[in-house]
């Protein structure tokens, strides 16, 4: 039950883009076409989940035992950067077809604040789902949270790029063209997602 609540909360209620404002740059940058946004979402999904697992372990078994929590930021960003590079190299060798699909998005992901944001959130924040006593996430909960969050990212991205494909064809007043109308569209999407608040 708790996992179910985590998933619903991460995808809909606290959607990473529309409620937490993380990963906005790629969200606005590559959402012009449905195909690229699907590719980007899958790459983000893969990296967020992997990075969260690795940084959670790093934090639990290296930083906390040595009292080095203040190094979280620097340690996490280095691990994420290295991880993205490694994923790129491994993917290139192991699965060229997957590399074709995700490869071009991988370098962009290091500076996607969604990855670092989720990694930091799961090790610094206490959560309370259902009636359980508030507690820090354990490894399984962190992984589920990270995966669900990135699904939420994908959902917002795919919905948004669908709308943007239509926007490209419509007659928008000149000063609104491009980013402004996109932002106003996101605003309306965020309003729709506000309707989910309070269900968990």
């Amino acid at each position: 039950m708790e996992y179910f609540l985590i998933i619903i909360s991460a995808i809909f209620v606290n959607n990473i883009v529309l409620a937490q404002f993380l990963g906005i740059c790629p969200f606005l940058g590559v959402s012009g076409k449905l195909s690229t946004s699907t590719g980007m979402s899958m790459a983000v999904c893969f990296v967020i989940t992997l990075a969260t697992v690795v940084t959670w372990l790093l934090n639990r078994y290296l930083l906390i035992p040595f009292g080095l929590e203040f190094l979280q930021t620097i340690a996490f960003i280095l691990v994420i950067a290295a991880l993205v590079q490694m994923v790129e190299i491994v993917l290139k060798k192991v699965s060229p077809s997957l590399y074709q699909a995700l490869g071009i998005f991988l370098p962009l992901i290091t500076t996607n604040c969604a990855v670092l944001g989720v990694a930091i959130t799961v090790v610094t924040k206490e959560f309370s789902f259902g009636s359980a006593v508030p507690h820090m996430f354990n490894l399984a909960e962190s992984t589920v949270y990270a995966f669900a969050t990135s699904l939420g990212y994908g959902l917002a991205m795919v919905l948004f790029s669908g709308i943007r494909e239509h926007l490209a064809l419509s007659d928008v007043p000149k000063p609104f063209r491009g980013l402004p109308i996109a932002l106003i569209t996101v605003s309306i999407m965020a309003m729709a997602f506000l309707g989910f608040s309070g269900i968990v």
Binding site: F70, I74, E126, F127, S128, P134
Partner: protein, 181 residues
């Protein structure tokens, strides 16, 4: 350029940068460690002082049932407890500091952190009627809608329920502590 890009020079460069940065961070950490602890302690002290009757010496933090609490001692007997109590509110975790007298009645409460909706649930930190009712509160810790004695914030029943639950937890903790003694 060849020498500049050799593996050795790259490794040396990265090592040097990391060493310098590590040294800088280590020293800044050492310098700011006690101010950070002091700032956190001062905040905790201020919150505790606000929810407890005046006088009394505040004890060190203690743990029971997963909650943190402090005792206020006067003439070596406990006159009141300050309990840090959290529940899930509407938007996330709601954490309170609750001042409780040994008989389980409430002296005062204060919100430490919350993520309630601005203008609705977030009024639990500003709504004068809602805040004032907790001073000396005694009775059923449930909102009136559920048959209790708590006046809920308008349009924010979930936040009010969570608040009442956090206060109730604190009161129960104090009652159970006194039973053990």
């Amino acid at each position: 350029m060849a020498a500049k890009n050799s593996i050795l020079s790259m490794a040396l460069c990265l090592t040097a940068v990391c060493l310098v940065c590590g040294a800088v961070l280590g020293s800044v950490y050492a310098v700011t460690k006690s101010p950070i602890e002091e700032a956190a302690a001062a905040e905790a002290r201020a919150a505790i002082a606000e929810v407890l009757p005046e006088g009394g010496t505040i004890s060190e933090a203690m743990q029971a049932d997963g909650m943190e609490y402090y005792c206020s001692l006067a003439d070596s007997s406990v006159v009141a407890y300050a309990v840090k109590s959290s529940t899930g509110g509407f938007g996330g975790l709601l954490t309170l500091m609750v001042g409780v007298l040994p008989d389980g009645s409430i002296w005062n409460t204060k919100v430490l952190s919350h993520s309630e909706t601005p203008g609705l649930g977030a009024k639990c930190t500003s709504d004068p009627g809602f805040i004032a009712q907790w001073k000396g509160f005694k009775g059923n810790f449930a909102v009136r809608k559920d048959g209790g004695d708590v006046d809920a914030i308008t349009a924010s029943t979930i936040t009010s329920r969570a608040y009442a639950k956090a206060v109730a937890q604190a009161s129960e903790l104090v009652l159970s502590l006194n039973k053990e003694d």
